[in-house]
Symmetry: C2
């Protein structure tokens, strides 16, 4: 199957690399910088000071805007757009994880295009550009530092939507695995699930496929699983943090989908509604619904699920159906082994039937779209999967 | 180990993609194009006409310069530089394999920098830029379409030298596997060896290393071996051509060396002298020397060679030393199975002792450098490996 692959992000990976931030902004032609960040951890750890120091060293004026929350909000994006316009900002520096980077990308779209930035996320029109964005990554999970995607939550209706375009790809990504060593365990493991899922979504495609893409994806999933287990025991293991961080970028930069139709992505869409309504951690939400999604759709292509089971878990058992189901159980066993939920109760939520129907409707744009390619799911299918996942 | 990863090349992969060449040149800001190509096959097949048609469609004036040979020559590069200057060329379009792309990159350096372009290859100074280069790939082998490297042969002394910098990375690479379906078998298999070797050189590093990088590299080598065997039987198999072509790009864009010291590269340096003196096919030359290099150095790190043997060939045998040597034999058996040489006699050359000493001296810059990192090889070591390979 024909494909395009475009990953222009310059990755600067390893210990102490954040000291090069100012130099990288200058290299990319930035003159006035918005330093965008989340909660207080970047401040408390002294990271933000180090970053600002490196901007000052290059003589780059900057304005800071913190307070980005998980499932980043449209209101913060709008605040950022106003600041950029009034301050003449020409470079967005995201210091944080996927939420902060996604928020910066959305600000970039808003500044570079007229009209309401939500239009892009609401599929009303296409962006024609984006202010350049650079990232200093502090959480390995979303892969936004190399991906073309950005996901924002509109508080008006708590609608969570993604928008993809090459314009928003980061110019550079500074990745120091040390910065992730103090992340709480739940967030670490939730990140690992998110990383694995970016490859698993692509792995379960409907048409196309390449042996090389499969092999890379399988190696990536095995690597993340092995290192997630190491981090469960020893959260400060630098090498394990490095493996997970690099996997996070490669898992979502397009590499693991080359030569396919792009993959399924129903699990992500189903989780987005949970994130929008219940503000759960994205990776944990994915773990909670994946098994139910897999059981609902595996019969569309049991051979693919069996291949996954054999190559990722080394399962050798008999027929395709048995092996496929055994693989789904193995993945759920892995999730539990690192403290991740495999259903909504373990995730800590109990949506009512009314909420399930509302999420299913929103997920399918009130009947205007189906989700997934392995099996195209309509509102009834999505509701059934939420119920299976209870 | 800290690393940088930068692969800005936009890949447009699949059937019929060469029709998009003009559009891609325009997207990259090209106005006047030098179309650089090799022998008559691009002309005879009609490919050159289709490319020129697509430039015309975008209203892009162009000049053509053919005649690039394998182990591309400095004299052709100088001719290209003169043409670019007199015609006001601002974009170099390489239509061919690694030789043509490398030649275009060298022209790009020559046009964008004052002084003699050979200085860069001769390690006398660094380039400060390169005219933009795009590629329409017709041979899967060198990986030059995504790499930062360019290798040129200076006829004055028949010295073959490489020069690496990010400036020369292609802006885009059009990759249609169909264009490689008519390649002669020897060239196809030689290309497969070259592709595998770009990962194998990186696999045998001295310091650093990442599980994810290993896993990707091992998957890539297995994929190329499997598909090389398919192409031996059925040269027109599109899927096999696609696997090999995509592997060629990923094998040399930096991905398979992330987190290492960059790898060994002695085999390449040793082969470069064979290429310079005897004009042999690069991949075949690599196959002819690799086993001798491996036996000469494996005792520096038998565990690494044993790991390679287990993961690439599935070998299970006993101690590290036995497994390491068995892996080297398996690789040579693979080379023979696809018609590739495993020594210089099979390569069709018989250098005299005087020629061996001359190649060893040139390879080590007359004592000014060693080659390889697993074991730093001096002139005597290199000469010994040539003799082992007889």
């Amino acid at each position: 199957m024909n494909f395009e692959y475009y990953t222009p992000t310059k990755v600067v990976f390893g210990k102490g690399t954040e000291s090069r931030t100012g130099e990288l902004v200058r290299e990319q032609g930035g003159h006035r910088v918005l330093v965008h960040y989340g909660g207080g951890s970047a401040v408390r750890s002294g990271l933000l000071d180090r970053i600002c120091e490196s901007l000052k060293k290059e003589g780059l004026p900057y304005v800071t805007l913190g307070g980005v929350v998980p499932n980043p909000r449209l209101s913060k994006v709008r605040e950022g757009i106003r600041i950029c316009r009034s301050e003449g900002i020409d470079f967005l520096l995201a210091v944080g994880g996927g939420s902060v980077i996604d928020s910066a990308k959305a600000i970039g779209y808003g500044v570079a295009n007229d009209g309401d930035v939500w239009d892009f996320y609401d599929r009303k029109r296409q962006a024609a550009g984006c202010l350049p964005v650079g990232a200093v990554l502090t959480i390995a999970a979303a892969g936004s530092e190399m991906s073309n995607s950005s996901v924002i939550t509109n508080e008006d209706g708590w609608i969570k939507r993604g928008y993809n375009s090459d314009y928003c790809r980061c110019r550079f990504a500074v990745m120091n695995p040390e910065l992730t060593c103090t992340l709480p365990d739940y967030q670490t493991q939730s990140g690992c699930v998110d990383i694995m899922m970016h490859t698993m979504e692509r792995y379960f495609f409907k048409s196309g496929g390449m042996e090389l893409t499969d092999g890379i994806g399988e190696a990536l999933i095995r690597t993340v699983m092995r290192n997630a287990r190491i981090l469960k025991e020893n959260p400060a293991d630098y090498n394990a943090r490095a493996e997970v961080m690099w996997a996070g970028s490669l898992s979502h930069n397009g590499l693991t989908g080359c030569g396919t139709d792009g993959g399924d992505w129903a699990s992500h869409q189903i989780e987005h509604e949970l994130g929008g309504m219940f503000d759960v951690a994205h990776g944990a939400g994915l773990a909670a619904v994946w098994g139910s999604w897999a059981r609902y759709v595996y019969s569309e292509n049991p051979t693919r699920f069996a291949t996954f089971a054999r190559r990722v878990f080394g399962l050798e058992s008999g027929d395709e159906e048995t092996t496929a189901l055994a693989g789904i159980m193995e993945m759920e066993a892995f999730y539990r082994s690192v403290g991740m939920p495999t259903n909504l109760a373990e995730l800590g939520i109990a949506p009512t039937e009314e909420q399930i129907l509302e999420m299913a409707e929103k997920c399918c744009f009130y009947g205007r779209r189906t989700v997934g390619v392995l099996k195209a799911l309509n509102q009834e299918d999505v509701a059934a999967i939420y119920r299976m996942a209870m």
